[in-house]
Subunit: 559 residues, 2 copies
């Protein structure tokens, strides 16, 4: 045992899980270990011997054993790497993708682990990006509208096919035997906590953002579930739980079994589970209203805290205790960001540029950034709507599509690349303005994720377009740091941790020194371009011209 | 001398001139000879020794000696190639780019051939694509509107910077000494006829389409020119001519000098000059109303004949005797077609596709066509506005720009390629509908130019989108064949030619056997997509949303 205490953050991602060992006093990430899931994302056939079990399109499953293997491999590895004494690891926190859920027996055994159910796809974990439950989501939305359910407003008026009850209803619709055999339906995040501590304790973040729960109103009423499907009437009481624990609470202590898996000490404090995006907020130093955290990667997840519950157009959700205890956590999102840039680079680059990038041994993104960064705002004469993957906030419409306007015979790849980046920045500004209009202030932006570090031009454009300072989380693994912070809170100050997430954030979270500040001259031009963006956004996005939907409809008819 | 008679068509293009020797009875093209202009397109500096004379941006000049060299080199060459006896060459016709004009002395000597003026850019031939006279075109349009000039309606309400008086006014504005020294200002087409025959006889095609002349009203009135610039008041009588000769008339006979240049017999009949696009109409078998000829290449020039003068929105011009004597020739155009496809292929193709095309040793256009041709209409879910190079007809607005809508993360290069081709077909349909709405029927389409032979998918799309049969001229060199046909008419039937262009067309012009017919199922889908195109066309093109102009304005401000 030493003076120096550590906490462990475990981040369960889409393709892999990772453990990060963090020094509790400073927040320094001292070791990382990554496990690539043996069965990865299961989207073609189940990973079984014998006759193959094919999956339908839009399915995406995971194997819960991959979560256990993550624990077994990465935790011992960080201990070995660092030589840290398990006695000095005082707490554990985890975060997960969401909604990622699975059916289990009363003792926590996943149905897919049982021979009777192993060959049934519905017995496996449904990953967040399992998109086959759209009919069920449509039915939930229609029923909620019909019954004038007030909770719908907390989700911008529409719930997603990715969420808990859409997935649940799909199991019931397509595999009632699995639904019946499942004693519990549970977020994988909470299931891992159960495996670590031996107790089933569900977290307020996934309950609130993915399962329509709220601290004040609880779940939607019986009547709603009954109307949705009579067999669902008692789903909460039969297969879920009304006991929801706020993130930052302690879930329990490490069992002997889990201690054996991990090499940690039995009895180590374990925090209530969290979600990868949301746990990043305090890890990015944000524990108060006014500063928006943006997880920037293939898409953007925007999170901001508020003192009260406001209705904001097209947000993904507002949850009390959803991000920071005692505050309302607001979430919004852009469904295509890095994905759009990747699409462009994969499909629309000239031979010359490919060659130049190869010869100079740089990434094609770098080459395009270099060429685009010397431009002034507005110089390329282009404007885009960033809807290549639909629009999540504020329009909440997957059937919208991308638009590029202003092309001439002189338009070059870097012009389009820059216009696409700007379009995503305009999309963020629309979200910020929706928040502010409805009483949720956004004074400053903090980025984490893969994009910000790679692309300085992008950061400056976001600062210029939004007119706000833009900072970057200093963490190498922001979600895992956030989990480690909650682990420190679960341990408490007497064990060498912290008593609140506010304190943990003060000591463990840091931003990089660089700040992207809006440049007034650029802002002025972007204000004019943003006005044009908003006009196109409203024209094509709010029903005046439904050509995007018509095109998809014709496409679907002829395909 | 033999029974078999020949006529010669000489086509003066942008980079080269070509002679085609044609069998008069059958229209068979028996030999071609091409001369690449020694001085090509002069757009950087004058081709002179000594201190360089730089040109301003947007300038494009030619050297009239290149036209003489074309005669000296290509005519003897086709005679040598074929062994045809010059006695059997009964007529000559020429066609030219337009408006391509030059200042000359009273004896026809180009000012640029005289030492006093040789170092002055304004002394040289201004090529059709000399685009430096936009301020002058603007002034002409403003003055014409102010004075309520009726002739403006014949040109869709706007004249172009490429036309005769815009170029003339630029000479006057910037080089009044050249203007004063010029006894004649003349189309290069008519200048070549002058060189061949010794007589200055101006053709009705360029006079009508490029110099605001009409058979019934003549040129615009003195007052108009006086108002434009007092020094221009008498430009027609001082430096041009009110004697305009209809295409299909005989200009004169080959002089001894020209006979020496060409190896032809002095006294050979020479037709009034013509323009490359317009001369292609009878060469594509069209001498009657109802069939539209489309010269398809980097852009499209659409020509159709009518019995009377109608006002059609945004057409480029209507000229009595402009294409076929006794009929009104209508011209419209799309300013970007093959140019847009080339832009796309040069800028927006993935590495994979480049590699595939290289490995299979096919053109990238072929590869994209192959991939796009298997699609059904509407399957890619995209729609484009084909305004990468502005819109010539019917909106007549160079400040419009390209638009692509409907892109998703699954959109591929061949999808965009097909959408761009479809967009140009929609653009053609808008033009056809404008003609029909105003009393000029278009029942069938005939293509000539480079694009139709290369791209069968494109032809089928045009047939499906327009709902009209689409045929292709059989000539290898359609303009030169047309010129040879007018040469045969200049010779007349007694010499072994023809008495009218109608007879010449019946015998000398042919279409290919293949006919692209609209496929009803495709038409039905394209009708729906066209309705969406028209809506976007009107929304962005008719002032409801001027974002394209705003983007160009901002671009110009910041650049």
């Amino acid at each position: 045992m030493s003076d120096r205490k550590y906490t462990l953050g475990i981040d369960f991602g889409t393709e892999s899980g990772r453990s990060v060992l963090v020094e509790t006093r400073t927040g320094k990430e001292i070791a990382t270990s990554i496990y690539s899931y043996e069965n990865g994302v299961i989207d073609e056939k189940l990973p079984l011997d014998g006759e193959p079990v094919q999956l339908e399109p839009e399915w995406a499953l995971q194997d819960p054993q991959d979560y256990i293997r993550t624990l077994q491999q990465t935790v011992p590895d960080v201990l070995t790497q660092t030589g840290v004494n398990p006695e000095d690891v005082i707490g554990i926190g985890i975060d997960f993708t969401a909604c990622t859920m699975l059916p289990v027996k009363g003792d926590g055994t996943p149905l897919c682990n049982l021979p009777d159910y192993r060959r049934q796809p519905h017995a496996w974990t449904k990953l967040w990006k399992h998109h086959a439950a759209q009919p069920e989501a449509d039915k939930i939305n229609a029923t909620a509208r019909q019954l004038k359910q007030k909770w719908l407003a907390r989700y911008g008026g529409k719930i997603s096919s990715e969420w808990f009850f859409a997935k649940t209803l799909q199991i019931l619709d397509e595999a009632p035997d699995i639904y019946n055999a499942a004693d519990r339906l549970i977020e994988a995040a909470d299931w891992v906590i159960w495996q670590l501590t031996g107790v089933e304790k569900r977290n307020s973040c996934t309950a609130g953002y993915k399962a329509m729960w709220s601290k004040r109103q609880g779940y939607p009423p019986h009547d709603f579930f009954k109307q949705l499907d009579p067999r669902l009437e008692n789903v909460i009481d039969q297969k879920m739980s009304r006991s929801i624990y706020s993130i930052s609470e302690k879930a329990g202590e490490l069992t002997a079994q889990a201690a054996e898996w991990t090499g940690l000490k039995a009895g180590t404090a374990v925090a209530i589970a969290n979600v990868d995006a949301h746990v990043s907020v305090p890890a990015a130093t944000v524990t108060e209203p006014g500063r928006m955290v943006m997880i920037m990667g293939t898409s953007i997840c925007h999170m901001v805290l508020g003192q009260e519950e406001c209705t904001v157009e097209g947000m993904c959700g507002v949850v009390e205790d959803g991000i920071i205890p005692g505050l309302f956590g607001y979430e919004a999102g852009q469904s295509g960001v890095g994905d759009i840039f990747a699409w462009f680079v994969n499909n629309c680059i000239s031979d010359d540029y490919q060659r130049e990038a190869r010869e100079r041994e740089i990434d094609i993104h770098q080459l395009l950034e270099e060429k685009a960064a010397v431009q002034k705002p507005g110089q390329h004469g282009l404007l885009a709507l960033d809807w290549w993957n639909g629009n999540r906030s504020v329009l909440v419409d997957v059937d919208l599509s991308g638009l590029l306007i202003g092309a001439t015979l002189g338009t070059k790849a870097e012009d389009i690349y820059r216009a696409l980046i700007e379009a995503t920045a305009y999309g963020t500004r629309v979200i910020i303005e929706a928040f502010e209009k409805n009483g949720v202030p956004v004074d400053e932006l903090v980025a984490c994720g893969g994009l910000p570090e790679k692309n300085k031009m992008l950061m400056q454009i976001y600062a210029d377009v939004t007119g706000r300072n833009f900072k970057i989380s200093a963490a190498k693994q922001t979600p895992a740091l956030g989990s480690a912070m909650f682990g420190a809170v679960a341990a408490g100050s007497r064990a060498g941790g912290y008593d609140t997430i506010f304190e943990a954030a003060r000591h463990m979270a840091r931003l990089k020194d660089e700040v992207y500040q809006p440049i007034p001259g650029n802002q002025k031009i972007y204000d004019r371009l943003f006005a044009e963006y908003v006009r196109l956004h409203d024209y094509f996005g709010r029903g005046e011209n439904d050509v995007m939907k018509t095109l998809k409809q014709i496409r679907d008819e002829v395909s």
